[in-house]
Amino acid sequence: MTDALTVADVRKVYGDREAVRGISFSVREGEIFGLIGPNGAGKSTTLRMISTLLRISSGTITVCGYDVATESDSVRSVISYLPEDAGAYKDLTGRQYLRFMAGFFADGEELEAMVDRAIGFADLGDRIDSKVDTYSKGMMRRLLIARAMMPSPKLAILDEVTSGLDVVNAYEIREIIRDIARHGVTVLLSSHNMSEVELLCERVAMIDGGRIVQMGTPEELKRRFDAPNLEEVFIRAVREAEGLV
């Protein structure tokens, strides 16, 4: 199985401050890979560099064979990025929003088919024709995930995708992500919710202070640190990295 994403010794520097300090990992095609860590660990910065939103200070990122720094247009044609707490254009209905976004990928019948597929995916019933500013947080997230999956990306990049959702909505979103991966889409997600990642991801990388402190499958990591859950693994991994253990 080939890698959909390769991140090699990537740094992001703001002045004298290093937000990301030489991280490396790769994600296999069709895999659900999680970046976990506390707020400010560098997860979102990493996702934004992969999504071509931020420039890389050093190192290389390759998405489906395309270099993020030099082939950003090609990278954008194979990824779908969903930012944390993202919204949609408030004066549009859900259907209009999907049609607007689909316009970047297709036109004519292909566009209509793409929108119909996304509407089915969002599963918002009649509310798809309501203005998005009337949507609940859960409905908005379903619409945005449908938008992200609409062009059948090779790599879906989801930043804190269930953040702020209630239990039911978070569960449904996780099911959608599993379904996406079953259809061959590689998923890279970030979260500070360790138990969610444990439920969802095949492999995880733990980030703290801009560095990857541990990486592996949830089971491997729990075995390695003799911990009952990823939360415990993370605490011990950070202490180990800081030389406190």
Partner: protein, 433 residues
């Protein structure tokens, strides 16, 4: 009481932010500067002005009367410094040349046999000649001295001799404008008519720029707040296309708004052109705007709107959210207000060179004064304005595209390497202290 104090303090902290206080201070400074400039202009208009007196009469009685009225108007003025008396005949272009030579904005021409006529109960001829200068509301106030002296003399003669009809025939009075003489009108009357027509232009430009600017900056603030911008920037489309699309949409909106205002103004000015204001028919003295002129006006307007939008998109990039975007509209408002006030009240020609240079650099100045420049045939300023606006607009659009390709749009200015280094240097210095 404690709760009230707590809530009030919290609200004040939110309302009196550094940017909101700065915006108020900028407006205060702006109005103070304008007041000072206006005061300077008013003082200069009220100061003694040079006057040329052309005496075609064999008697000097009229000259001494003129000097007497002038002396009463400006008691502290040295008459020999301000009044130049020459013997006639002197008329037409020669008269204008002589006025320019002595630095007089107006002249009084005393007709042949004036003294003998008025002392024999006949009307004497005395008329004023003015050189028009387009200098805003106060630009031609100073030249009113000639008309004012003739009116005073006429009144004095009528009173002395108990006449009910005018003692002085001023029928040959004229204003030299655009290389020609406009009979029977004074510069102040022309100013009044021109101002009635053109004063709307700076106002409309200012309104359109502030309105469109606010829309663009707020839209950027909204996009950032909703993170729709991040999503948009990861679509398979070039940043140049995104910038161009946003600029084009806002530019078209601005042009539609501007055109609507202009249509209203055209209807208003057509009404003025067909009639008269202050007894002056602008068309009769060659102050008209033709179809080609309107094209030039629209070109300047469109370029100025695009430039404004470019500036706003750059400003919008620094907006964190919708609320912070509101305060960012201030610079564009100030940039639009400064030329509006200066052009409206002082005009271009009456300004010192430094202020002219400052105004020329502000892109919104050009469409604000284009109508007046076209009327008075100042085509160099019109074409220079178009060229400057074109260069400025292209530069701003290129800067916008560059900004859209940078990290600032996502991280904001606070994460910019230069700003981070400056902050670090500043905090280091403070710590050292």
């Amino acid at each position: 009481m404690n709760h009230l104090l707590n809530i009030t303090k919290k609200e004040l902290r939110e309302l009196l932010t550094p940017s909101s206080v700065a915006s108020v201070l900028v407006v205060v400074v702006l109005f103070a500067a304008l007041g000072s400039m206006m005061s300077g202009q008013t003082e200069s208009a009220m100061a003694p002005q040079k006057l040329l007196v052309v005496n075609n009469d064999s008697d000097d009685w009229a000259v001494s009367q003129i000097e007497s009225v002038y002396g009463a108007t400006y008691p502290d003025a040295d008459l020999s410094e301000y009044i130049t008396v020459v013997d006639g005949p002197l008329a037409g272009q020669d008269l204008v040349d002589r006025m320019v030579e002595v630095g007089a904005g107006s002249a009084i021409v005393i007709g042949e046999g004036f003294y003998s006529n008025v002392t024999s109960h006949r009307t004497g001829e005395m008329y004023a000649t003015y050189i028009y200068s387009s200098g805003g509301l106060f630009g031609n106030l100073s030249s009113a001295i000639a008309g004012s002296i003739i009116s005073s003399l006429n009144l004095a003669l009528m009173t002395d001799q108990g006449w009910t009809e005018p003692a002085i025939d001023t029928g040959a009075s004229a204003t030299y404008i655009n290389g020609d003489f406009a009979s029977g009108v004074t510069p102040t009357e022309i100013d009044s008519a021109v101002s009635s027509q053109n004063m709307m232009v700076p106002l409309i430009i200012m309104i359109v720029i502030v309105m469109i600017g606010s829309i663009v900056i707020s839209s950027m603030g909204n996009e950032k707040e909703n993170k729709t911008l991040e999503t948009l920037l990861t679509m398979p489309v070039k940043r140049t296309t995104i910038v161009t699309g946003k600029l084009l949409a806002a530019g078209i909106t601005g042009l539609v708004f501007g055109a609507a205002y202009m249509v209203g103004m055209m209807m208003y000015t057509n009404g003025i052109m067909s009639g008269t204001v202050s007894g002056v028919n602008l068309a009769d003295i060659g102050l008209t705007i033709d179809a080609f002129d309107w094209v030039l006006i629209l070109i300047q307007m469109f370029l100025a709107i695009l430039a404004a939008l470019g500036i706003c998109m750059i400003m919008g990039a620094f907006a964190k959210n919708y609320k912070s975007a509101q305060t960012l509209t201030l610079p564009i408002s100030v940039l639009a207000m400064i030329p509006m006030f200066v052009i409206m009240f002082m005009g271009w020609n009456g300004l010192p060179l430094v202020l002219q240079a400052v105004l020329f650099i502000i892109p919104f100045t050009h469409p604000m004064m284009v109508m007046t420049n076209l009327m008075f045939g100042d085509m160099t300023l019109v074409y220079a304005g178009i060229a400057y606006l074109a260069v400025f607009t292209v530069a701003v659009i290129l800067a916008t595209v560059r900004l859209y390709k940078s990290d600032i749009l996502i991280t904001g200015i606070s994460q910019n390497p230069y700003v981070v280094r400056m902050k670090a240097a500043f905090s280091g210095k403070k710590n050292a202290e």
